[in-house]
């Protein structure tokens, strides 16, 4: 199924506060639905973006609501959505996080470390560009996490 998207590029500006997660999910869900994704696809996109932003807000921005980051969403070739999360925290490549060992985590009472694994499983492509290598025209360089989800 090919569909001409009714939007080109949209940006949500969010702050380092977990109350923002609901608004972020709503934003990407609305765009994914508009683009033509069915409910399971919409859920996966919202989940992946939620996980990425939760990690950013808690571990990089340390719940500092004065700090901002961007969630950009744009269609790619009429058959995929690209979501980019841009932040100016310390660069951290989530792709270096190993897959969690559930039994070991339970023994250690660990509650984190699952988000990255979820992102990798539900998206078609995940790339990370640390600020120093991230080209964004005239805007200040930011870390960029790029998530791609195909329509079919």
């Amino acid at each position: 199924m090919s569909k001409t998207a009714s939007f080109i590029h949209e940006r949500l500006t969010a702050s380092g506060d977990t109350t923002e997660l609901e608004r972020i999910r709503q934003f990407v869900q609305d765009k994914a639905r508009e683009f033509g994704f069915s409910e399971p696809g919409i859920h996966k996109i919202a989940l992946a973006v939620d996980e990425a932003c939760s990690n950013l807000i808690r571990h990089s921005y340390h719940l500092d609501h004065a700090r901002e980051f961007f969630v950009d969403i744009s269609p790619q070739d009429d058959d995929a959505l690209v979501i980019e999360i841009l932040d100016n925290g310390t660069s951290f490549d989530p792709l270096t996080v190993p897959a969690p060992d559930l039994k070991q985590y339970a023994a250690q009472h660990r509650k984190g470390g699952f988000g990255v694994h979820i992102i990798r499983m539900v998206m078609d492509a995940v790339e990370y560009f640390p600020a120093e290598t991230s080209e964004r025209g005239n805007s200040p360089q930011m870390n960029r996490l790029r998530l791609v989800k195909k329509l079919n």
Partner: protein
């Protein structure tokens, strides 16, 4: 602002938690303190009913990871029940069905405790 709530019901030896709404990194601490409170009060047989839960992220799943070993060490358990498909998908992605007892109906979870 938070679209998440918990109701608790104690039926003798088991504490049942009814979750409603959206469980994410913002609302997970609320669940964590509710479960910690029940355990501190001596409850080790816990059932979590997800029937009215619309959404969960890994922050929500993490809460169960914190307590599971502790309650099992004292002969208890945290049994999870009545999940919508969307919520179950997230547990399944991470392999939680291997570690947790997940039932379709609350009665099954309760019956397993009394068995």
């Amino acid at each position: 602002m938070s679209k998440f709530s918990i109701e608790q019901k104690n039926n003798g030896s088991t504490e049942v938690f009814y979750l409603k709404g959206f469980l994410d990194a913002h609302t997970a601490p609320e669940l964590e303190s509710a479960i910690a409170g029940a355990i501190a009060a001596g409850q080790h047989r816990l059932v979590v009913n997800f029937n009215d839960l619309e959404y969960i992220s890994s922050a929500g799943l993490g809460v169960f990871m914190v307590f599971i070993e502790e309650v099992r060490a004292t002969g208890g358990d945290i049994k999870l029940t009545a999940m919508k498909q969307k919520v179950y998908t997230v547990f399944d992605l991470l392999g939680f069905p291997m570690l947790f007892d997940i039932t379709e109906k609350e009665e099954e979870a309760l019956a397993k405790f009394s068995a």
